[in-house]
């Protein structure tokens, strides 16, 4: 692990008061990843709800990947994208089509889906990142609705009925395992990416942009390049997650991928956990997935689920705008296991 030297020319970015880096978090995180890797082998221990546990695990890992990726542009650079699930859908459809036409399994082609998402992100970023602040957010909303409309009416991808994918060639007992591992890889990859960005000069530049873009520009940062780069790389694991998720559903439908509710969840997870921190989106994803599980089993209705999501969003924004990790850090109570910045 290299320790980044902070360039004095770059605008000073405030970070936590204590900058001691201990080996503690690394060991703990490695342990968690190891345990997650071993989880599918623990069938005898888990017993009956084995598939359910792997399914929840996969969902949790997916949201970790989505929220962490969103955080690169929305948290570090401060550019809130409410249309990031466009890349999720693009990834899902890309891998799905590769499966249908070439018989390539999305479990292997998700990196291709990710790359395609990066390319789309680059092109979209070139246009939308010409604006700042609210206009940027609006353009991402418009992008999402436009893409949703396109897929809803594009016969080649089945329009609003979507596409059915062939069932994965696994038995019912083992079918969850490959999906789980693919998502684990994607989640670990996205958190690692987020970590690397946070600890690079590039990440520092993004934070400078988030604090005061004009000053960052004057300070010699090529803000446009940084923003477009951040936007495109933040699309990679979103696209990848979409590919694996679509295959696990065995069907692709615009309503699943291009619903603004997906974007809402990504944003919300990052905010609840703490925007602009590495650990925040992970914490937020785990919290919200757990809460969703509970709320669905309690209310049984998705409508009230939306209400709960909205209320949490309001409460967090009004009372803890820095999220769990940010608030704990400010009070000096962040456990070292979560201090990844």
């Amino acid at each position: 692990m290299t320790r980044q030297r902070v360039e004095p020319s770059v605008i000073a970015v405030e970070r936590g008061p204590s900058r001691r880096r201990s080996r503690g978090p690394l060991a703990a995180v490695a342990t968690i990843v190891l345990l997650l890797t071993l989880l599918p082998l623990a069938r005898p221990l888990i017993g009956q709800p084995y598939n359910y546990v792997l399914q929840i695990g996969m969902v949790g890992l997916m949201w970790i990947a989505l929220a962490s990726s969103w955080n690169i542009i929305g948290g570090f650079a401060g550019y809130i994208s409410l249309g990031h699930n466009v890349f999720y859908g693009i990834g899902g459809y890309a891998s799905g089509l590769l499966l249908l036409y070439f018989d390539w399994s999305p479990l292997l082609t998700w990196p291709i889906a990710g790359l395609l998402a990066v390319i789309c992100g680059f092109l979209v970023g070139l246009v939308t990142l010409r604006t700042r602040g609210p206009a940027f957010i609006i353009s991402t909303v418009a992008l999402l609705l436009m893409v949703a409309l396109l897929f809803d009416n594009w016969e080649f991808v089945g329009a609003s009925n979507g596409l059915s994918l062939p069932l994965p060639p696994f038995s019912i007992e083992t079918v969850k395992i490959p999906f789980y591992y693919a998502m684990l890889l994607i989640a670990v990859g996205s958190v690692y990416l987020s970590y690397r960005v946070a600890h690079s000069k590039f990440g520092l530049a993004l934070r400078a942009i988030a604090q005061d873009e004009t000053k960052a520009e004057v300070g010699g940062i090529d803000t446009r390049k940084m923003k477009v780069t951040a936007f495109s790389i933040s699309a990679f694991f979103v696209g990848a997650a979409g590919a694996v998720w679509g295959y696990s559903l065995t069907y692709l439908r615009p309503a699943i991928f291009f619903s603004i509710a997906i974007a809402a969840e990504m944003v919300l997870m990052a905010i609840i956990g703490g925007r602009g921190t590495v650990a925040g989106p992970v914490v937020g994803a785990i919290l919200l997935v757990t809460l969703n599980e509970i709320s669905v089993s309690q209310f049984g209705s998705t409508e009230l689920n939306i209400v709960v999501t909205g209320v949490i969003m309001l409460v967090v924004l009004l009372f803890f705008p820095m999220g769990v990790v940010g608030t704990l850090r400010e009070r000096g109570k962040l456990p070292s296991i979560l201090d990844w910045d």
């Binding site: 700042r132 206009a135 418009a142 939306i306 209400v307 999501t309 969003m313 924004l317 705008p321």
Partner: protein, 291 residues
């Protein structure tokens, strides 16, 4: 030739209502720098008010304006006062408002779907099926009434802004908040009024579109996306831009719809938005990026 005229007229009629919806949204941004993602959901909520007044006591949707306008005005005052002062002064205020109103939109949408389910509804007063024929031009009566009402409401808004003392204060606050403060405008009060007016316009729009476009709780996203595209296009916070943009784009959308089918009409708005972002990021009537 007459077909072109026909499409133009239909476009303009729609544009009138779009302008009404967009003006509330742009007013909020102009005065307070609030991007109200919940504007669409409030319009839909007002649709439900009009709907239940229609199917219950049998009120005509135009009569429901008497309820929706004051009701949403009050709602606006309450919402503004209870939520926004808390985040005043945060460095990225506009972005905070996007997220905050996103949350509001989810809450309202969730409640609407819980109580009223996802079924399509609309009010259907008798004139929705009527039309006026001038030569071979076909003018749907409901559209005509709705646009005329929008026009009247927009004129009233204009009169308020340009002829009253409070209206002057609103415009002053839109142009320069600090300047307004130092000449003695109580900007908190003006902000509350402006937000409430924006909400009242949402309420009025709801009454009007309740018989023009079938609605269900989730349909507000479609509306808000179109409206946001409109106000970015016109220049965020510019009322003139919102109205001109709405009329122009509604006409363009009518042509797209005529040529490629109604499903593609919304693409006009988004396509135009991206085109404008490419050429003139500050919008048609906007000054350089205001954040």
């Amino acid at each position: 030739m007459s077909e072109v005229a026909q499409v133009m007229i239909l476009g303009l009629l729609q544009g009138g209502v779009y302008a009404l919806m967009a003006s509330g949204l742009t007013l909020m941004f102009g005065v307070m720098r609030i991007v109200n993602l919940a504007h669409g959901v409030f319009i839909i909520a007002a649709c439900y008010v009009a709907y239940f007044l229609f199917v219950g006591p049998g009120w005509d949707p135009f009569a429901s304006l008497l309820v929706t306008i004051p009701l949403f005005f009050l709602l606006g005052m309450v919402i503004y006062r209870s939520l926004f002062p808390r985040i005043e002064g945060s460095q990225r205020f506009s972005e905070m408002t996007v997220l905050l109103t996103f949350g509001i939109a989810l809450v309202v949408e969730g409640f609407l779907s819980y109580f009223f389910t996802g079924t399509f509804r609309s009010t259907n007063p008798p004139y929705t099926t009527d039309a006026i024929l001038i030569g071979d031009l076909f003018i749907p009566t409901a559209q005509l009434y709705a646009s005329m009402t929008s026009l009247i409401l927009l004129l009233a808004l204009w009169g308020f802004l340009f002829l009253t003392r409070t209206g002057y204060a609103v415009r002053a606050t839109m142009q320069n908040r600090t300047a307004a403060q130092i000449v003695g405008v109580n900007v908190r009060r003006i902000s509350t009024i402006a937000f409430a007016i924006g909400m009242a316009l949402a309420g009025a729009s709801g009454s009007l579109i309740s018989f023009l476009y079938p609605f269900f709780p989730n349909s507000h996203w479609r509306w808000i996306a179109i409206l946001l595209a409109l106000i970015v296009l016109g220049g965020l916070g510019s009322l003139k831009g919102a109205v001109v943009g709405a009329l122009m784009l509604a006409v363009a959308a009518a042509f797209v719809s005529d040529m490629f089918g109604a499903t593609w009409a919304p693409i006009t708005f988004f396509g135009a938005l991206f085109l404008v972002l490419l050429i003139r990021p500050q919008g048609l009537f906007g000054r350089e990026a205001r954040v």
